[in-house]
Symmetry: C2
Subunit: 393 residues, 2 copies
């Protein structure tokens, strides 16, 4: 069993009536804050107005960076850096999804570095250690960026997504209000929810290391809980319990408790190159991929049968049986049916009118130019990756 280190310092304010604590958190670092968000949808919301009121009534000066993209661009990060450097801003507040939070982390680190360009930090040309304070206010249950210490930024010119990682960019505080996710439409709710499940599959559940029973059982419980509550959040968007469960699950899927002791290379997140290549939503890409990846592995090598059968029985409610291979296939079917029927998502790219894929390019990105994914749950060669992509069409 691997030794591990665990620390997560983010202060979480969870619930409906926590916004009045925001100014205290901001004033720990100074009286100027940059708010980043995705655009008019947030800007016209009562949440945004409430945040502004809370800050301004406490004499905090607010700056703004709008139009942060899904898959935030390094040029947008650099705009934020400029505002922070020119105005001596101490805190960056993200209102939005994982993309907005990631953008703020990137701004926070670059603003205290010797460069005005996040890409210099990503490429290691400029070193960084400290960062402005980041505060996260997620409006969708998905990436878990609000308690995590990494971010992913897109460089459209180079056609590359990459990021930085360090404890200085872990949000100092996160305001998790389930009512802020009530307006997320069913499709986005489903994609965000599957992203949570994929974090759990990839980094904690289908792993090749010795498992710590405690973490492993908790991960399975999180998966089961998400499997139960996600369809409710889709059908009843204002169901507080379902939204609260999804929002808290997103944080816990990625806050490094679940991964503690595991060192498996993520298969699904490596394979998920649909978002960067086809501009598909990340969670949708993962939902299309996951059952295909499982079926490919099981067809190839029945050593995965016990793990997949356990998943079927304990998470998907499949009936157990002596023939674990049979139960494992039923588990994959159950997952695919869940994605189609309960999440309302397509299970093949053809349903989206996509009939061809730049497979070679995607395989190169998935394997990062190496020959394979050697430390994944099951090793995947380039040919394996290509085969799985074909199954997704």
């Amino acid at each position: 069993m691997n030794d591990f280190q665990f620390q997560n310092t983010t202060k979480v304010y969870f619930g409906k009536n926590q916004l009045s604590h925001l100014h205290k958190e901001v004033l720990k670092y100074g009286n100027k804050v940059l708010i980043a968000h995705g655009g008019n949808f947030i800007k016209n919301s009562s949440l945004y107005q409430n945040v502004i009121d809370e800050l301004e009534s406490n004499h905090i000066q607010v700056f703004e960076l709008g139009a942060v993209e899904p898959n935030p661009r390094h040029t947008t990060v650099n705009k934020g850096v400029k505002i922070c450097k020119e105005n001596d801003i101490q805190t960056v507040l993200a209102i939005g999804g994982g993309s907005t939070i990631d953008c703020c982390k990137a701004i926070a680190a670059t603003a205290l570095s010797d460069s005005d360009n996040i890409w210099d930090l990503i490429e290691g040309k400029v070193s960084w250690k400290d960062a402005l304070a980041v505060i996260a206010m997620p409006t969708i249950a998905s990436t878990g960026s609000e308690m995590d210490k990494s971010c992913v930024i897109a460089n459209v010119e180079l056609g590359v997504k990459s990021g930085i990682n360090g404890k200085a960019i872990r949000p100092k505080a996160a305001f998790l209000d389930p009512t802020n996710t009530f307006s997320v439409p069913p499709h986005q709710t489903a994609c965000g929810g599957f992203d949570i499940m994929a974090h759990l599959f990839d980094m904690n559940y289908f792993v090749n290391a010795d498992k710590y029973p405690l973490q492993f059982n908790v991960v399975e419980t999180l998966l089961k809980t998400v499997r139960q509550k996600l369809p409710i959040a889709i059908k009843e968007p204002e169901n507080y319990e379902a939204r609260a469960t999804m929002l808290w699950a997103a944080s816990w899927a990625l806050n490094s408790f679940c991964t503690s002791g595991f060192k498996t290379q993520a298969s699904l997140h490596a394979l998920e190159q649909f978002s960067s290549t086809l501009d598909l939503t990340h969670g949708l890409g993962l939902a299309i991929l996951t059952p295909k990846w499982m079926k490919y592995l099981l067809d190839r090598d029945q050593s995965v049968a016990n793990d997949f059968a356990r998943f079927g029985v304990n998470v998907m409610g499949v009936e157990d049986g002596n023939d674990k291979v049979e139960v494992a296939y039923q588990a994959i079917d159950a997952l695919q049916n869940f994605i189609k029927d309960e999440l309302g998502l397509p299970v093949h790219l053809s349903e989206l009118g996509i009939k061809n894929l730049p497979i070679e390019e995607m395989v190169e990105k998935a394997t990062k130019g190496e020959k394979s994914l050697p430390r994944a749950y099951r090793q995947l060669t380039k040919e394996d990756c290509a085969h799985i992509y074909c199954m997704c069409l």
Copy 2:
């Protein structure tokens, strides 16, 4: 559903090969450390010598406070305070169980206060906010004090146990090495393990508030995991996986994730006055109490049947059935048999030769002079408490 706030900043070093990080953690605060421990058993251990070597080879000056009692006394705390104040010590390192860690927390707060007496802080005569750095090195899986921000101290003159609570005394770092618990004898392993279960029962599982499904399911999973691994840790004291599971479970039962959103008054920990009155081990007191408390509640009021039946089925492996009251009684039997047969603990005080109890005194302590425990899972009057104590004989 209640709003809640959650933050736990302790840095955990988990595993066999983490001790070399100790000097880094100490040197963050200064180069003088007070080591507190329970006595010769620790002092003669290789762990103690390894700690001294690690510190002294990094030019850290070591002071020592031995003979910290189980249920640590305020006079012992005050001895530690004196050493810290006289020598300008910046860090207090606990090597031992929850009592030693609690003692260090109390020393840490008092040493930076205007008093030389912890009891002044406990009684609120002297205010405190800051504390010396606390580092915890638990040698038994039990209280979870290593990630928690409170401590309990005994004043033998007054016959009272009480404590302080604040984030400054939460350990900055905790070194959790399962091999440090290999030498814990079966009886202490069982008592410590039941203490973990009782934390989960009391503060998170049998609760009267709206439950957050995520936390509640995780608590149930922790209970089930402890129920599986504790008997192994008892039978195979050097089983790394079982010891690791117990040690990490102890931390998680009390690190405030599980309690987030719950506000129930603890019944079992209020009733557990055997340790203060009879000098019984706290975990043993809880093990004797828990099934009696459950039976008393179920006899009195069948509204608890569904909760107890769920516990029986999901944690204890009792077969489910339509008659939830029947299943609930089976759950209590299963728990009592588990305590007797798998943990090897007595289930009645008479087995320990105890035939009488100072019931009136215990009831007063349990209810802290109030008429009842009004916000517990089920309200307990003084008569209820007395009845439950009689059932324990």
